[in-house]
């Protein structure tokens, strides 16, 4: 029951956070200088369009209209795309999920594996080499890495496609096994760019967490009892070190979504990040606000999921949360 109350409170708080984010973004983007008109558009035509889109109204009126429309499930009409925002999001969000999902898998599988491997060989040559390598990779800025990968593996070596999400001739739609492979092939460079830096960070965090747990009494006890080393690492060290891993999992969502903006733009990946970036530049207010709505929902949901997972991984946290809830309820 108390766990349910805790979850309910977190859900209410999550909705409030999302609402606050879209309000903040709505006000900020409307206050920012600039108009949703291109540089060479005749200002008289621009004025006409501004009126057609209702942008000549006070910001409070526009905000109220936005909320009313949002309550009816209408995200508005994109100025620059000339189509409902919902349609644009339905087409682009799956691409971002594919990219972020692939990057997340890359990040955590590789990062977790490297972290465990290093912790098991602490201060030995593989640990030192990998430690420096992960630090090097972690230091690479994505805006540099992306064009370099594109240049080397796309243009020079020709191993991977130079941008795009699919072959426009053979696979305009993913409707066959060949086209699934084609999509994965197109995904390699952007997902690597987005995932490899995160994996390096995850490896370093995981190594530190594993080493911290290694000095705990129960690990020493297990080792003294003659439990096999593999079992100690996997059952005792890893499970307890997972707490920081799960926390980092929750924090990875904002990183992935912000990283996707750049990666999608450079790799011409037709996702929500590129959509949002173009929308900011063109002052396409409905798209910016809707993107913020989606992004904040994903981030908040990711953190909620991480908190729930933490409860499963460490029952003590569930007890604390329930006790906190009781105190507040009382």
């Amino acid at each position: 029951m108390t766990g349910g109350v805790w979850l309910l409170r977190r859900l209410v708080a999550s909705v409030a956070i999302v609402f606050a984010v879209i309000t903040f973004i709505f006000i900020l983007i409307h206050l920012a200088p600039g108009k949703p008109c291109s540089e060479n558009l005749d200002p008289r035509v621009c004025t006409l369009l501004t009126r057609q889109f209702g942008l000549d109204q006070p910001i409070a009126v526009q905000y109220w209209r936005y909320l009313v429309e949002l309550a009816h499930g209408n995200l508005g009409m994109s100025f620059s795309l000339r189509r409902p925002v919902w349609d644009a999001l339905v087409e682009t969000v799956p691409f971002t999920l594919q990219l972020a999902g692939a990057a997340l898998v890359f990040d955590f599988l590789l990062g977790l594996g490297l972290g465990i491997y290093q912790a098991a060989r602490v201060n030995r040559l593989p640990d030192l080499v990998l430690g420096n390598a992960t630090l090097f990779i972690y230091s690479l800025p994505t805006f540099w890495l992306a064009p370099i990968l594109l240049l080397v593996f796309g243009e020079k070596l020709g191993w991977f496609p130079v941008g795009g999400a699919s072959d426009p001739i053979f696979c305009p739609q993913v409707d066959s096994l060949y086209c699934v492979a084609d999509r994965l092939w197109h995904l390699v460079l952007p997902a690597t760019t987005l995932g490899v830096v995160g994996a390096a960070g995850t490896a370093r965090f995981q190594r530190a967490a594993m080493l911290e747990v290694a000095s705990q009494d129960y690990v020493r006890t297990a080792r003294a009892k003659g439990v096999p080393e593999r079992q100690i690492v996997l059952r005792h060290q890893l499970r307890n070190a997972l707490l920081s891993f799960i926390t980092r999992f929750g924090l990875a969502f904002p990183f992935l979504l912000t990283g996707a903006v750049l990666v999608e733009t450079i790799f011409a990946w037709p996702g929500m990040g590129r959509l949002a970036f173009d929308a900011i530049l063109t002052r396409d207010y409905p798209v910016v606000t809707a993107s913020a709505l989606i992004a904040s929902t994903v981030v908040v949901a990711g953190n909620l999921l991480a908190d729930i997972l933490l409860g499963f991984a460490d029952p003590r946290l569930r007890v604390h949360a329930a006790a906190d809830a009781d105190v507040v309820t009382a």
């Binding site: 057609q52 243009e155 066959s176």
Partner: protein
């Protein structure tokens, strides 16, 4: 090498195995072929009156016909150089009436006949303020369009002038009235038709994948002859370097504008690419705002003075700037025109590069360095201003810095404001700036571009700097109305020399276009005003077809 081969082998093997049953091929005859254009911008709509977007225009060339079109000469005076398209022929019925006879073979791709009613409907739509068409101002001298019978459309003009025919045919693409009549005009900008158009051109619309590509397929029943290439794909890439990489890596076939000398060199080095230079349609200039920023009722404290503008113009070595930044890809424009416009002539008189004279002129007007800080001043005010430049344009940002240095050399301080394009548009559109580096694209006629950007007709519109000289206006009007081409040319020359002497801006560079196309394509012709206008005549010989040309779906 071994590792690379093994890696490639595994990838190819995996993909080939997965797709072995899926890939179908077989088109091997003339008329096969697929061309992929690496486009940088995705158009917002394909409904012609609703957008001036350049990629939308390229695609619309394939979908919607004009009544007639300019030839390779891009001569816009008279009608002798125009090629018939939807109109089989035309004749003049008096000095103000032009009669078009529509080709009876013309059909919309849903099977309906193209009629004079479509022409009348199109004209009315382009002229409807609810559509907010950017082409509307260019049709102001056409009084009305009517239908004499189902295949005869009659244009009635308000006055007689040399470019009547050009105005009648160039700006409008004829639209299917039966499909658009029911769509409220104020909703045209967002009409679903714009994303799934039905045209009458050489290609049919197949699909639009948002942020990815637009695909067209040849209409084999096209009344003017089957297009030479079966499938056209515009693939959207938000960055020019990546678009160029796609062509170099043989993952696309066309990049119509390489833009920078570096890109041209890289494309030249790619064995499969052929390079096609053609006249550019853009010029870039430093606009001097002649009215006070934010208050158009007062003159600008610096640029309201003609001599200050002239001095600053003379302080800039435009030829060296073009050479150092663009090499052979740019020229100093002889006025506010691009190389596309027929009146371009390098010997049109301009203010010289003469820093001594520039300095003398400023000193003569009291702008001297009284306090010894290296910057000229007058009445305690330094000779300083801001240069507004869109942060998205690397070339213009580079020019801003070079101009800053050249102004500094004569004791003028320029500060650079690099801002987003939308902010630049807002500030220039509202007159809230000192100077701005702006680009303008021309259509082949000097009349509409110069009128909109440099005369009173452009106040509140594209004449951001509010330049006004009654003498210039008079000459422009005479040039537009001149009955003979030579006479018009002389008058335009005089007009350009007049505006150059007034220095409402420093005309910095006009880019030459260089396109890259895969060598397997034959009969490639880039018409300077629209590279895609003649795409239907390009072809790929059967013996040069590659995998992507043969695919059938």
């Amino acid at each position: 090498m071994l590792r690379r081969s093994a890696f490639s082998y595994y990838i190819v093997l995996t993909v080939a195995t997965l797709g072995a049953c899926e890939r179908r091929g077989g088109c091997t005859t003339a008329g096969c072929g697929t061309l992929i254009d690496a486009a940088v911008v995705e158009p917002p709509t394909l409904l012609p009156p609703s957008t001036e977007d350049i990629v939308a225009s390229d695609i619309a060339e394939q979908l919607f016909l004009k009544l007639a079109d300019v030839g390779m000469s891009t001569n816009t005076v008279g009608d002798e150089d125009f090629q018939p398209l939807l109109a089989q022929r035309w004749e003049w019925d008096g000095p103000l009436t032009l009669v078009f006879h529509i080709d009876p073979r013309a059909r919309w791709q849903d099977g309906q006949r193209v009629t004079a009613a479509d022409v009348e409907f199109t004209f009315n739509a382009y002229n409807d303020s609810a559509v907010a068409s950017p082409f509307r101002p260019k049709l102001q001298r056409i009084e009305k369009v009517t239908q004499r019978d189902s295949l005869t459309a009659v244009f009635r003009f308000r006055e007689k002038y040399p470019e009547m025919f050009y105005d009648a045919v160039y700006h409008m693409r004829i639209l299917p009235a039966h499909l658009l009549r029911s769509v409220p005009r104020e909703q045209w900008r967002t009409a679903p038709f714009g994303r799934q158009p039905v045209g009458d051109g050489p290609y049919r619309f197949v699909r639009w994948q948002a942020a990815q590509s637009i695909e067209l397929v040849a209409d084999t029943t096209f009344f003017l002859g089957r297009p030479g290439i079966r499938r056209l794909i515009w693939r959207f890439t938000p960055s020019l370097p990546v678009a160029v990489q796609q062509v170099i890596a043989d993952q696309a076939d066309i990049r119509e504008q390489l833009v920078t000398p570096d890109n041209v060199e890289r494309a030249k080095a790619a064995k499969q690419l052929a390079i096609y230079p053609f006249r550019g349609n853009v010029y870039t200039f430093l606009s001097f705002n002649q009215r006070a920023p934010g208050d158009t009722s007062k003159p600008h404290p610096l640029f309201g003075d003609r001599d200050v503008r002239r001095a600053l113009t003379m302080a800039v070595d435009r030829a060296s700037l073009v050479k150092s930044t663009l090499g052979d890809l740019g020229q100093v424009p002889p006025g506010p025109i691009s190389a596309l416009v027929g009146i371009w002539a390098p010997d049109i008189r301009q203010l010289p590069y003469d820093t001594a004279q520039a300095a003398r002129l400023l000193s003569l007007h009291g702008w001297r360095d009284h306090d010894g800080d290296g910057i000229r001043d007058k009445d305690g005010q330094p000779l300083a201003f801001h240069i507004l430049v869109p942060s998205s344009s690397g070339l213009r940002k580079q020019y801003a810095r070079l101009l800053q240095e050249q102004f500094r050399a004569i004791g003028v301080r320029a500060e650079i404001d690099e801002l987003e394009g939308s902010v630049v548009a807002q500030r220039t559109g509202s007159g809230n700036y000192d100077t701005a580096i702006l680009s303008r694209s021309n259509d082949p006629s000097p009349g509409s571009g110069i009128t909109q950007s440099w005369t009173l007709a452009g106040f509140g519109g594209s004449n951001f700097g509010r330049y006004y000289n009654p003498e210039f206006e008079r000459i422009v009007q005479r040039a537009i109305s001149a009955p003979k081409r030579d006479q018009a040319r002389t008058l335009w020359r005089y007009a350009l020399e007049t505006i150059n002497a007034d220095a409402p801006g420093i005309f910095l560079y006009a880019l030459a276009n260089v396109g890259a196309v895969h060598k397997r394509v034959e009969n490639v012709q880039f018409r300077p005003d629209s590279w895609a206008a003649l795409l239907r005549t390009w072809r790929i010989p059967p013996d040069r077809l590659i995998d992507r040309d043969r695919v059938e779906r």
